[in-house]
Assembly symmetry: C2
Homo-oligomer: 343 residues x 2
Amino acid sequence: MTCLAENPHLEATGESSRGFAPVRFAADGLTAQRSSRHLAITPKYGRGPCEVDVRYLWCGAPDAPTLIVQGGISADRDVTSLDPAGNPGWWQALVADGAAIDLARWRVLAIDWVSPQELGADAVSSEDQADVLAALLGELGIGKVHAFVGASYGAMVALAFAARYPDAVDRLLLLAGAHRPHPMATAQRSVQRGIVRLGQSTGEVDQALALARQLAMTTYRGSDEFARRFSSEPAWRDGRFHLPVEDYLENAGRRFVERFDAERFLGLSESIDLHQVAPEQVPTATTLIGFPSDRLVPLADLCELQQRLLGRTTLEVVESPYGHDAFLKEPELLAPLLREALA
Amino acid sequence: MTCLAENPHLEATGESSRGFAPVRFAADGLTAQRSSRHLAITPKYGRGPCEVDVRYLWCGAPDAPTLIVQGGISADRDVTSLDPAGNPGWWQALVADGAAIDLARWRVLAIDWVSPQELGADAVSSEDQADVLAALLGELGIGKVHAFVGASYGAMVALAFAARYPDAVDRLLLLAGAHRPHPMATAQRSVQRGIVRLGQSTGEVDQALALARQLAMTTYRGSDEFARRFSSEPAWRDGRFHLPVEDYLENAGRRFVERFDAERFLGLSESIDLHQVAPEQVPTATTLIGFPSDRLVPLADLCELQQRLLGRTTLEVVESPYGHDAFLKEPELLAPLLREALA
């Protein structure tokens, strides 16, 4: 792994008060880098070594041990907010000064996932993402991370990371992610990619990406949650009936298109389906967190993962109506589990 | 309900030996009409009374009591095979001479669902289908049916029928269908319709309809079934990875496009989502059959239906890996339940 980084990195400090737990950077002596590094890896599905700019956030107590924190394919490096005037991070409720992942105690590192386009490869693997993270650790002078906290695709990459760099991580915290995708979830993502390709071939990429996101939402959320929220009557509008759940889905689709790119979506969605890690090659102590309402990552797959992992493994089962998205929607339930697993 | 029928109807007799249970028509003195009638109904979402040609199959023992048998939105009147040289009916294993729905003992009536296009209406309701069936009964001189056996959408229409014509049916046998669609299933169908509309607006109707069917297949089948069948490695082909489940889905999509029309699909899919029957208005004795692996019609909805139905109701729970499609895939498990419920 050659590190070619020459990019400057920015020191950003500030004070934030958004979200579940307020984050104060400068006031509490916390530090934050939100920058990028030019790294080289050899992608699994590429044609030899290649270079890529990796965008990262590294923030928290300056001399504290580092935790890697990664989410799903649509999450980014902004796991927590740096800019008091900006949006909260995607896991602001759990990653903040005083939160379960306490920035006064830990330093958190997160990257924007790399896409096949950025790698110039046919596809991007969870191993590639792990290699990018390992190269970045080298670049930042981090010999070992205290934990890799990964949710959804982040959990898959965490397993790939621990299998490839067992000496670089002390423990894994994996939420709603396993050693392989479930074939039913693969089927659902395959249809999402088919929709996007149909949009690309007909010049309606935005509409198609929105529809693919609508479909994704039906897999992220819980069945009981939908039953509770969307039971009202259909409304006749614009020449057809609109059902309550449709308005919700259409809104979710539109918002996704504003922030996401079709090619990037295709590459990262496929990366989930290409993911395979032999749990027997992961010696790291692991805490698994699963949700019985998760339609995408069935609890049975986490049970199998627990049985097959080489290292000491705990499985925590969290009841929630929110399905796969419980890792985003249940910070109060997750906080004590994360605190304990990191202790 | 005015009956305007003037169409001739054909008497078809023959001998069949395809499927799980061979059907012999002429040899056993069975009779079959495969014909159409011109009927009038007043559609719920229409602009007054309208006329429609309804295609039906009525076959079995000539003087036996009639059973209505209806399946899902993609099923047709050919519940059993008439033509020895043709394809078997969609429920051949259960509807045949000597089968659980024994044509030597019963006379089975089934229709092709009517679409909004055929009605000239904005949408077609499950009540409209019930009205069509009631008008057809009048036309054929059937005062009362021994049972309405409905699966999936057929179960929804059976409930609408019993609520509107309680004196025209003695009992209901409902498989994998309830008094309302589940909002999660509505969400999934809504995306399917969005795909088809995207195809219509871009001139790629066939490709879109195939994709919609692929998505539908992920809702019809069981998660464990997919896990067992599709666990092999992806293959690189035509410039991208193909996952084992994708080949299965693509084949299912292609086959559907060969036999189904996009407008008809849109209308019947929407009809499921507009369906609402108050179980308290159904006085008929009912047997419900549900499958715990059914992702489209959760067992909890059948439990609620059982509690709310006015008539005496039994709920039979059948374990199967096949999800919603268990009503098609488990004839051996269903046969004794159907026999008993019809007795």
